[in-house]
Symmetry: D2
Subunit: 337 residues, 4 copies
Amino acid sequence: MKRVGVIGASGYTGAELLRLCAGHPDLEIVIATGETMAGRRVSDLYPSLAPAYPDLVYRPYDPADVEGCDLVFLGLPHGESQSIGPDLRKRVGLVLDLAADFRLVHPADYVTWYGAEHTAPDELGQWAYGLPELNPEVATADAVAVPGCYPTAAALALVPLVEAGLVEREGIIVDAASGVSGAGRGPKENTTFCAVDEDFAAYGLLTHRHTPEMAQVIGAPVLFTPHLAPMSRGILATCYARPAGTTSTAELLDALADRYASSPFVVVDERSPSTKDTLGSNSAHLTARFDERTGTVLVLCAIDNLVKGASGQAIQCANLRLGLGETTGLPLCGVNP
Amino acid sequence: MKRVGVIGASGYTGAELLRLCAGHPDLEIVIATGETMAGRRVSDLYPSLAPAYPDLVYRPYDPADVEGCDLVFLGLPHGESQSIGPDLRKRVGLVLDLAADFRLVHPADYVTWYGAEHTAPDELGQWAYGLPELNPEVATADAVAVPGCYPTAAALALVPLVEAGLVEREGIIVDAASGVSGAGRGPKENTTFCAVDEDFAAYGLLTHRHTPEMAQVIGAPVLFTPHLAPMSRGILATCYARPAGTTSTAELLDALADRYASSPFVVVDERSPSTKDTLGSNSAHLTARFDERTGTVLVLCAIDNLVKGASGQAIQCANLRLGLGETTGLPLCGVNP
Amino acid sequence: MKRVGVIGASGYTGAELLRLCAGHPDLEIVIATGETMAGRRVSDLYPSLAPAYPDLVYRPYDPADVEGCDLVFLGLPHGESQSIGPDLRKRVGLVLDLAADFRLVHPADYVTWYGAEHTAPDELGQWAYGLPELNPEVATADAVAVPGCYPTAAALALVPLVEAGLVEREGIIVDAASGVSGAGRGPKENTTFCAVDEDFAAYGLLTHRHTPEMAQVIGAPVLFTPHLAPMSRGILATCYARPAGTTSTAELLDALADRYASSPFVVVDERSPSTKDTLGSNSAHLTARFDERTGTVLVLCAIDNLVKGASGQAIQCANLRLGLGETTGLPLCGVNP
Amino acid sequence: MKRVGVIGASGYTGAELLRLCAGHPDLEIVIATGETMAGRRVSDLYPSLAPAYPDLVYRPYDPADVEGCDLVFLGLPHGESQSIGPDLRKRVGLVLDLAADFRLVHPADYVTWYGAEHTAPDELGQWAYGLPELNPEVATADAVAVPGCYPTAAALALVPLVEAGLVEREGIIVDAASGVSGAGRGPKENTTFCAVDEDFAAYGLLTHRHTPEMAQVIGAPVLFTPHLAPMSRGILATCYARPAGTTSTAELLDALADRYASSPFVVVDERSPSTKDTLGSNSAHLTARFDERTGTVLVLCAIDNLVKGASGQAIQCANLRLGLGETTGLPLCGVNP
């Protein structure tokens, strides 16, 4: 049994880590921190977790508390991991950060897209990018920057085609829709039920912070348009690219299937992927098409933003690093219906 | 009071015509047909209509019945309008068809996209395309082909930019999401609540029948990817195009605002449009952006697929033709929340 | 054209008044107030209202501003109408309050259920209770306390049976479900999309503030259990009562049908009422059953909480008082699907 | 590893058994039957199951096929288990039926509520009622009638109070709401997305088939009113009863807590239970209140209708019978958000 700490366990990704660890045979939560929630029971904030954690109480973060942990997940708001991450790496053998703090390798990108200087720029590049299907080196990393939800979906769809030379690096468009949990737990005017229900709208036009992360992992510039869909979970990335030469739907599907032949969480199929088929699971479903009429490559990927797009992928990285078996404790099948 | 017949009033567009006519001061429903529902009360099928139509009963279609009508709407499944439309035009002064039967001007398009020869090809081109904001000639037409829901949204977004020469005719992508009512009233495996709820998925990849209609009205080839969103109504079209020269967000917004300066149902604004703001109304909300980083034009349009995308637009056409005032009886404001 | 002021127009009931007035031929909004929103355009807060009110701006409330109004609606949070209502009645010929401030006739009820002394107890009983189907005297009132959403549904269901002596006054239970708009516009932890979506739960167990209002209008004590359903609008009241003697489903349905024979917004039918059939409309749908097996009367009523349960009913009262025709400008048919 | 057969695996309860078994360390699916789906891959019907069952194909039912199974679940439509159940019991050591066929002990109840004579009345009473928290004898049974979804929720709420003598057996009302998956996979007019979305309505007034099962397990007559809520999963039972003497909220909560002190799936708490907290899990959340004002006992229970209300409970029974540990492979925590 590995001892697990969750720093920042009051948000959705933190709570999802607790849910997934409750069903994991080898991971045991020993500490959960939450500054504003300190002293409250986890089950008060998340009654869904009550059967597994009847007595777990949020604590304020104290570096000394986590020293006995085998691994620590960080579920903090963006910017906070920067300040404690470097220190944490010295105290705990495996640190996995679910924020954006260590994902981008160029400090300038933080200034451009996040509006502030990175406070620990020397760390950048030292954290492995935690997308195991595309970056198997994460299995040996002591510090992991777990990818964002949109970049996970876009990268799973596009990287095999870009790296196989099937599509050009110019003119890539990622048009994606997300469930509302991607916006976090805190109440906001644009995430109330009445604002979102029966609505579909784009947001963050041209300026969403996941854009440079996508470009970095895909290795090409992208125009990214996120949309908010009236559902709690799920991301569908519908990606458009220009073919590098003559291609076909069969060739595209083969390229995806080959790339993911040994990836237990990835399903490549002719059918159009549905987010609901991934709900609550760590799976990703993909398809692709070549439109001869307009000369366009279309590739789609569906995931659960909180699982494969965050907490599940973090545990997948930990499983690999700890030799526990890639799929251990992680749901393969979506909760559908 | 104008006497109105609705041929095919048991589907969603037919029922929506009844709802809108109930609030229209100058239109009075005198006949509603429905072959499989003949003999049943409209209020049995649509209890929502009971307060306005407590005693209206579906009849089978009989051409003689509609001769006293001032205008007739056709809400039939695709293919059926072809067989009765030419005859109806001789009996009634104003005929408005909500199906695709008379929208495309090239008979070959029906073979390619609908899989069958058109049975009245001589009619094609004789029916005015009923998108008043872009085709004001509809105000004098006796036969109107009311546009499809997706083409309405895509055309309102793209036509002003294409016609102003701001975007190229190559490389246009229309990525859109629709509420489920677009699939019609009949139960199907992919439109049950459990199939759609909490799901987001693309469908009809590369092959959706609205593609040639979009290309025709926009005057350019398009790649069209529709998605199904877990909501009853609404279409958002997120359109991508390549700029024809140097442009800017301000120039794009101005082009839209100028084109729709005298269109009471169109709102052009910097904010990203929401389908819910149009729910139940005949309005269309638009915005645009130019992304200098990737050199891409982005233009979005939100409508209610059953109102501006079908029955409301049909009444808007009738209002213009009958001199009743373009907005008469048509909701301007969406039901939000 | 009657000149209308809306005091407190930034909340949902205020916005709904604006939506409904936009479709009303005889009511014209001349002023809309909102303290925290003063200076902002109405269309910024509610883009759905943009087509009808492109230039309307929220103002702070100033009593002098409303003196030219023919009627004023109050859409303020509970407690605020008490302070300005008495003064307003002297300035404007017709005042309609949508809060609870003047609904209860006994000052003690405010202490018990609202936790504070009423600040204008002399006003209580001077405001007519604005449920026209049950209280036709509202047609001559200059000051109207518009009923709450739950009491409207429960009263429409139960009052005809209680007053006809068909059910006992002991043992009445009102089990009801509401859409989320009943909780108002402000973001709260329990009304975020992720909190409500895919969830069904009771709230306010034993203590909901609408309980004494129900008891007052029904003339009997009630146990009221409200639930929150994952939808934006709609209330269904499922009411249980004990029969006063031998009765039958037919007798109960007849009692309802007789009582509402001349009520254009009320539909009495054997079918179980659906909230969606009332969406956006001022209609109420009812049915009843007598269960011989357990000796229980069951009566159900569905309404749209923001229309018949608030703003639509307020306009209905105004229509009657101003001699405009009870249904003028008010939708009869729900937006369904 | 126990070998599992699922007879009738194409419906929702069958698919849910496959999902749960995919995460169960000791249960392995060896056969899945489906008459109309025979020859199709399970993953074609349920892409959500593709990662765990890429090659599993539905077969027609053949009794010889299941003889090697350690246990068999029946997920057939009502009425079909009667014909194969008696034979199956002779072939397989443990048979668990998820239909209603063996739940009621009185043959006459089938005639009254299901409209047909039971075809194997001698079996009735020989199948243990599979609600382990209330019927621990199921741990030794070879044939198990797994309870219905509504009766599970109602019984968990009411049985402790009835058996402790805290409430009377007369006048019990169960007012409940269910997600749409309770209606099964087949498309029907009343379960399309557009029919259910944004709607709340009661159905089966006075006549729902779960009524006699509730009465049997609770040991008292009940008036049961089910409602359909716009969500895929979840049941909330809001139950009303008359106190047998003086009681209090504390006494009621204690009675529930005592009864379920050793039940790992049951959470008793002061907070009002939410269906979403149980989504995808086998947990049940309960609370209770005594309303002194009206002298009424209120007790509520939330479950996931497909898990604790069907497939999860079936596996819970199998776990107990096979000595695998009651919670093995069954999610404790709901997927929330």
